[in-house]
C-alpha cells in the first residue's frame, strides 16, 4: 500500500485513452497485420496492472507503469519471433515477418506515440475499409472502447460488431494497408476522408437521441480528440479543414448538456437554457474557427461552424444575427444542398423575412424525393404555419411528421407540438351557442 490519503482519483478515461495510445504504439512495432496482437497485449498489460493496483492503489504515474509492462511484453514477443525467424531461415525457407525491432529509447516517447496515433488514424480510416468498420475500428483501437461498449453506442449486438471488426482487420491484412501517414498529393484527399469519418462519429453521438446518453457524449468527445491529434501533428501542413471541423464539433458539443430536459425530451434552440452551454468549448471552437480561415477558401465545415458560432454567442434566439446566418446558408446551399441544410435555411429565412416567404419556399420543395419522406420537413412547415396562425394546416403537417419520425424522442417532441396546436385551436374556436 502506498499509504497516500484518499485523494488519488484517476484522471477521467485515463486507461481508455492510454490503451488507445498503446495499441497505436504496439502496432508500430508489430505491423498493422498484427493489429489484434497489439490489442491483446494491451489488454493483458492493463489486467496485470489493475490486479496489482486494486490492492496497492495506483502509483503516481499509472500510465508510465502501464507502458513499461506493455513494452516488456512487446520486446519478449519480438525476440521470440526473431528467434523463430532465424530458425526458419536456417531451415532454408524464407520467413516474412515484418517485425520492427523496438529501439527502447524511442518507442513510447511522446513524439513517437503521437506519430503512431496519426498513422493509426490513417490506417483505420483507409478508404478500402467500409465507413461503418472504420468507425468501429477507430473506437476499438484508437479510443480504447470494448466491443460491448461500441455495440451499446450503436444499438447493435456484440456479435455484429465483432464481425465488423474482424472484417476490418482482415481487410488491413489482405489489402496490405500500410501503417503510415500518406505523403505528397495523396495526403490532402486522405485527410478529407478521415475528417468525414470523424464527423460521422461525432454525429453518431450528437444526433441519435436514443441509447445511453453518457456513451453518446463520449463518442462526441472522442471525435474531438481524434481531430485534435491531427491538429497537433506537423505532418499535416494544411490544417484549415481540421481546424474548421474541430470548431464545428466543439461549438455543437458545447450545447450537449442543454439539449434535453430531465425527462430526456429534446429541446429546441429556443427552449434551451443557454447558461448550460459549455463556455470553454465555445471559446475553443471560436479560436479554431479563426485559425481555419486561409485565403478565400471556404469549406462546408467552416460555414456550419460559423453558423453554430452565431448561435453560441447570441444571448437569446431573437437577438441572434439571423441576417448573417441566412447569407451563410445561402453560401452553404452552393456547397451542400442536403435536406437538412434546405430546412435550416428556411428557418433562418423566416427569422429575416417572416414566416410567409419561408413557407412559400418550402412549398416549392414539396416534390423533393428526400424531403417528402423527411419528418423534419413537415415539422418545419408546421412551425411556420403556427407563426402565421394557420393551426389546422400546422396540425396536418405535424400528423404527417409523427408518422415519418423513427426515434421515440423525436415523436415525443412532435406530439408536444400537436398538443400545443390543438390547444390553440380550441382557444380560437368560437364557443358554440347554447
Amino acid at each position: 500500500m502506498n499509504g497516500k490519503p484518499g485523494i488519488n482519483a484517476l484522471a477521467d478515461h485515463l486507461f481508455r485513452h492510454e490503451c488507445g495510445k498503446l495499441v497505436s504504439a504496439l502496432t508500430g512495432i508489430f505491423g498493422p497485420e498484427h493489429l489484434q496482437l497489439a490489442e491483446d497485449v494491451v489488454q493483458d498489460s492493463l489486467v496485470e496492472a489493475i490486479s496489482h493496483w486494486s490492492y496497492e492503489g495506483a502509483p503516481d504515474n499509472p500510465a508510465a507503469w502501464l507502458f513499461r509492462v506493455a513494452k516488456n511484453k512487446a520486446i519478449n514477443i519480438v525476440n521470440r519471433e526473431k528467434y523463430k525467424k532465424r530458425y526458419v531461415l536456417e531451415t532454408a525457407s524464407a520467413g516474412q515477418y515484418g517485425w520492427t525491432e523496438p529501439t527502447p529509447k524511442h518507442i513510447f516517447s511522446r513524439q513517437q506515440i503521437l506519430d503512431d496515433q496519426l498513422r493509426m488514424i490513417f490506417t483505420c480510416c483507409h478508404p478500402s475499409i467500409s465507413v461503418d468498420s472504420q468507425i468501429a475500428l477507430a473506437l476499438k483501437t484508437l479510443c480504447g472502447f470494448s466491443i460491448s461498449e461500441i455495440a451499446r453506442a450503436f444499438l447493435t449486438t456484440e456479435e455484429t460488431l465483432n464481425k465488423r471488426l474482424v472484417r476490418a482487420r482482415q481487410k488491413i491484412r489482405e489489402a496490405r494497408i500500410p501503417f503510415e501517414v500518406p505523403r505528397g498529393t495523396e495526403l490532402e484527399g486522405r485527410v478529407k476522408a478521415v475528417l468525414e469519418t470523424i464527423y460521422l462519429l461525432f454525429n453518431e453521438g450528437y444526433s441519435a437521441s436514443e441509447g445511453n446518453d453518457i456513451i453518446r457524449h463520449d463518442l462526441c468527445e472522442e471525435a474531438i480528440r481524434l481531430a485534435e491529434i491531427m491538429e497537433r501533428h506537423p505532418a499535416i501542413e494544411d490544417k484549415s479543414d481540421v481546424y474548421a471541423l474541430l470548431a464545428l464539433m466543439q461549438l455543437n458539443a458545447s450545447r450537449f448538456n442543454a439539449r434535453q430536459d430531465k425527462e430526456g425530451n429534446l429541446l429546441t434552440l429556443a427552449e434551451q437554457d443557454r447558461s448550460l452551454w459549455d463556455k470553454d468549448l465555445i471559446a475553443k471552437g471560436i479560436s479554431n474557427l479563426k485559425k481555419s480561415i486561409v485565403g478565400i477558401y471556404v469549406s462546408v465545415y467552416q460555414v456550419l461552424a460559423t453558423i453554430s458560432a452565431h448561435h453560441s454567442t447570441a444571448p437569446d434566439l431573437e437577438t441572434t444575427d439571423w441576417k448573417s446566418i441566412l447569407s451563410l446558408y445561402d453560401s452553404l446551399v452552393q456547397l451542400d444542398s442536403s435536406p437538412l441544410v434546405l430546412l435550416n435555411r428556411a428557418i433562418a429565412k423566416s427569422k429575416v423575412t417572416g414566416a410567409g416567404p419561408a413557407l412559400a419556399e418550402l412549398d416549392g420543395l414539396k416534390d423533393n424525393l428526400v424531403l417528402k419522406e423527411y419528418h423534419l420537413y413537415y415539422s418545419t412547415r408546421a412551425e411556420l404555419n403556427m407563426q402565421l396562425g394557420q393551426y389546422s394546416d400546422a396540425l396536418n403537417s405535424l400528423e404527417t411528421a409523427v408518422r415519418l419520425a423513427t426515434l421515440d424522442a423525436e415523436k415525443k417532441l412532435i406530439r408536444k407540438r400537436i398538443g400545443f396546436c390543438q390547444e390553440k385551436m380550441s382557444q380560437l374556436q368560437p364557443t358554440p351557442e347554447k
Binding site: M1, L10, S51, Y55, S146, S148
Partner: protein, 127 residues
C-alpha cells in the same frame, strides 16, 4: 478487535472481460474501499498474489508440483483486517468491489487464531 483473513478467490482471467473504462472504475472503487478501511482502522494489509505459483505435495524423494487447472479459480489476493466480530468481517468482505465488477468472486472469511481459549496459549508471530 479481532484479526481476520479475507481470501479473495476468483477466476484466473477475472478482469479480462472488463473494458479499460470499466477497469478504471473497478480500480477507483478498490482504492476507495481500501481508503475507507484504512480510515476506519480495519485494514492491516492487503496484497495481490501472482496467479502463477507452485503447489507442493508429496514428500522427500517424491515432490510433486501441481496439479493445476488453468480455468479454475485461484486466490487472487488477500486482505488482513481487524473487525469486532465475524459479522463485521463478513460485512467488510461483502463491500469488496470484486463482487460488483465480476460475477465469479468468492471471498473466504477466516478468523485468525491468536490465543487458545482453553489453555491460554498465545500463538507466536504477534507482539
Amino acid at each position: 478487535m479481532k484479526e481476520f483473513m479475507l481470501l479473495i478467490r476468483n477466476k484466473v482471467d477475472h478482469l479480462s472481460h472488463l473494458s479499460p473504462e470499466e477497469n478504471q472504475q473497478f480500480l477507483q472503487a478498490c482504492m476507495d474501499y481500501i481508503d475507507r478501511l484504512t480510515k476506519n482502522g480495519n485494514l492491516k494489509s492487503a496484497q495481490p498474489l501472482v496467479k502463477e505459483g507452485k503447489i507442493i505435495s508429496g514428500s522427500k524423494d517424491a515432490w510433486k508440483d501441481g496439479p493445476f487447472n488453468e480455468s479454475k479459480e485461484v486466490i487472487v489476493g488477500y486482505y488482513h483486517i481487524l473487525a469486532n466480530n465475524m459479522e463485521e468481517a463478513v460485512d467488510i468482505a461483502k463491500g469488496n468491489p470484486e463482487f460488483a465488477y465480476t460475477s465469479t468472486a468468492r471471498i473466504e472469511v477466516r478468523p485468525i487464531k491468536m490465543r487458545e481459549e482453553s489453555t491460554g496459549f498465545t500463538y507466536p508471530g504477534k507482539k
